[in-house]
């Protein structure tokens, strides 16, 4: 597939993605792109189709039409439509979930170790024989996972079961688990939901740190203060349609967006 020069620095390019559930049009011809090193916010009222958008991207649901192109740095674009979720993660896009989906009965460290799965190779025989290669790999998994755990500030919870972690810590653990798959694009689905202001503050620092490490971020969030502060660009969805796109300042003043959120009559807008 030919890569146009203008999109050379885009890491994600979605063209008119449509998704319907029966008669419900959850997404209608949505275009969206994320550039290298950018933080893009995706906002919209409840039921606007934000999480559906993520699910289509990551292969949980196959979209009805449209193109999803993922462009790894210095490589050709990959069309993600129809790929299984695990293949998409292998390509370098990872996500977290709105309703926390950790592996509850595994320890914090193990949760992250699972994230390393797609970057490692030991098979059945490797596991049984435990040769030098497997040993080295296993050691590497532990050390990378530990470092990640440390970096999201959960060092003290190494061997604690995920379900026993405080709520904010579980959210951060999900981020660490996603990072363990070595993504260049990270999708965060309401990472600050249920967090208190201090936790949100620390989360913002964490997101900035992740961006600095070279990972582009697409983030869904309801906390407007957070999204306005960290996003480079914001895309607004309402009823499955993209109604606005721009820098935070523009979005803040945009009439259509304000109406969508305040529920004003569409004819009047």
């Amino acid at each position: 597939m030919a890569v146009e020069p203008s999109m050379a620095e885009k890491v994600l390019d979605i063209r008119s993605m449509t998704m319907t559930f029966g008669g419900l049009k959850a997404l209608q011809k949505v275009d969206l792109s994320v550039r290298q090193g950018e933080i893009v916010g995706l906002i919209g009222p409840n039921g606007a189709g934000k999480t559906t958008f993520f699910n289509c991207l990551t292969g949980v649901y196959p979209p009805d039409s449209g193109d999803i192109l993922l462009v790894p740095p210095d490589r050709k674009a990959i069309r993600l439509n129809g790929l299984k979720p695990n293949r998409i993660t292998e390509k370098g896009m990872a996500r977290t979930f709105q309703n926390i989906r950790l592996f509850q009965n595994m320890t914090a460290l193990e949760n992250i170790m699972v994230g390393r799965h797609c970057r490692t190779h030991a098979g059945v025989l490797g596991a049984i024989l435990k040769g030098p290669h497997t040993r080295a790999e296993e050691k590497e998994i532990v050390s990378i996972s530990y470092t990640l755990l440390h970096n999201v500030g959960l060092g003290q919870f190494v061997n604690e079961q995920a379900k026993n972690l405080p709520y904010g810590a579980q959210r951060r653990l999900e981020i660490a688990r996603a990072l363990a798959t070595d993504p260049f694009l990270l999708l965060l689905d309401e990472p600050a939901a249920g967090m208190n202001p201090q936790e949100t503050e620390r989360l913002m620092d964490l997101i900035q740190t992740i961006r600095k490490s070279g990972v582009s971020i697409l983030i869904i969030e309801h906390d407007m203060r957070l999204i306005m502060r960290i996003s480079d660009r914001i895309v607004v969805l309402d009823h499955g349609v993209k109604i606005a796109e721009g820098v935070p300042e523009e979005i803040r003043k945009n009439e259509t967006v304000i109406n969508a959120y305040l529920g004003a009559d569409e004819g009047a807008a």
Binding site: V60, K84, Q104, M106, V114, H117, C118, I128, E137, E138
Partner: protein
């Protein structure tokens, strides 16, 4: 409560109609005994319930079984004691007991095999016995037609088990939970029915007899020697199984199984191939069943489809659930309890199913995680991370 029970069982326990003399016997003393019995049992029940509800206080205390396994000063003496005990045991007990122990060990391995599927990967397989049958019949038939000996049949049985696991797994593993359970249940029955009805192939319900026992070339063994030989063979196989399952459990694959059990979608999104992981679990579980099938055929020297009914699957599943899903030590204990106890309690044999059912219900109420619950491995890691983190 006890009064209620007295009323409830009144017709059965108290009135006895003597049909010959046409008189009615009233057994009031029985009613009294029952009343007192139920009265005390209900207190016991409440006490246990009370204890169950007030337990969480001492949660950070490390359970004894974890200490036994994780601390070397307990672990090595414990394991060498168990080993020595099991080596010496056959010299002190009767041949019959040794036979029972062999059966128990077969179930230990079967339990550990099913534990991979049910305990680790969380796939409810109600047709596990089918793979057991595949193993047993592969040895019996290969021996009958081609004279293949036990040692060759052992890996062949295991491989055929795995092959059937994969063949069944490919279509079936798209299903989840209850649906998977039903289909595997059906598969177990299909295999049994095929064996029963395809007379030309499997000799039908009359089964296959005179299956040779395992031997060593150039060594003639009489009956009791060969039982002893199978006993030691089983010890070796049990150790081998524990070794393999333990390694699998703490490997990349084992982690992905547990993750799959915990949350399938999250697992896929984390880059784990769902089908592959499930198939691996299914095939590896079936491998042990196939291998044990071969040993079973060799031990009993006669097999027919009646040995592979749903009750067997249920038994193995009970071992896993009762012992503790995902826990190796638990499954071993579960197998020993469920196989050895009924043998020791022959006196109560008519109540066996009753006791069995009752203990299952009590287990689920008071200790749903099994005798020994699975403890996730803890990792210790310090040196380089501290340097990198700062």
């Amino acid at each position: 409560m006890s009064v209620w029970f007295m009323l409830l069982t009144f017709p059965i326990m108290v009135i006895r109609v003597n049909t010959v003399q046409k008189t009615v016997q009233w057994k009031w003393e029985r009613m009294f005994m029952l009343g007192v019995g139920v009265f005390f049992l209900s207190y016991l029940w409440r006490y246990l319930m009370y204890r169950k509800e007030n337990r969480p206080k001492d949660e950070d205390k490390i359970p004894w079984n974890q200490r036994l396994l994780s601390e070397k000063k307990y672990f090595y003496p414990f394991i060498s004691f168990v080993f020595a005990f099991s080596i010496l045991l056959p010299f002190f007990v009767s041949e019959y007991r040794v036979n029972v122990l062999i059966t128990a060990m077969i179930y230990v391995v079967l339990g550990l095999g099913l534990n991979i599927v049910v305990g680790l990967a969380g796939l409810l397989d109600l047709g596990y016995v089918a793979f057991y049958a595949v193993g047993a019949y592969s040895y019996a038939l290969l021996n009958l037609h081609y004279g293949i000996n036990f040692w060759l049949a052992l890996p062949i049985g295991a491989m055929l088990g795995a092959l059937f696991g994969i063949l069944l797994g490919i279509p079936v593993l798209r299903l989840r939970g209850d649906y998977l359970a039903i289909v595997t249940l059906g598969f177990g029955e299909i295999i049994r029915l095929i064996l029963e009805n395809w007379g030309k192939f499997s000799k039908g319900p009359s089964g296959i007899a005179n299956i040779p026992k395992p031997g060593i070339i150039g060594l003639e063994m009489n009956r009791s020697q060969s039982i002893l030989f199978i006993y030691y063979l089983m010890i070796a196989l049990v150790i081998f199984t524990i070794f393999v399952v333990e390694r699998l459990q703490n490997s990349r694959l084992g982690r992905s199984w547990v993750a799959m059990r915990e949350d399938e979608i999250a697992c896929q999104v984390m880059g784990i191939d769902r089908m592959r992981t499930k198939l691996a679990a299914f095939a590896l579980g079936a491998t042990w069943a196939g291998m044990m099938g071969v040993v079973f055929a060799a031990k009993t020297a006669f097999i027919n489809p009646a040995s592979f009914t749903f009750m067997e699957s249920a038994m193995i599943l009970s071992i896993v659930v009762l012992g503790g899903m995902g826990s190796i030590l638990g499954v071993i204990l579960g197998a020993l309890v469920l196989i050895l106890l009924p043998e020791e309690l022959r006196a109560f044999s008519q109540y066996r199913m009753l006791i069995f059912g009752l203990s299952m219900v009590l287990m689920m109420v008071f200790r749903p995680q099994g005798i020994i619950s699975n403890v996730r491995r803890s990792y210790e890691y310090h040196e380089p991370a501290a340097a990198e983190g700062d």
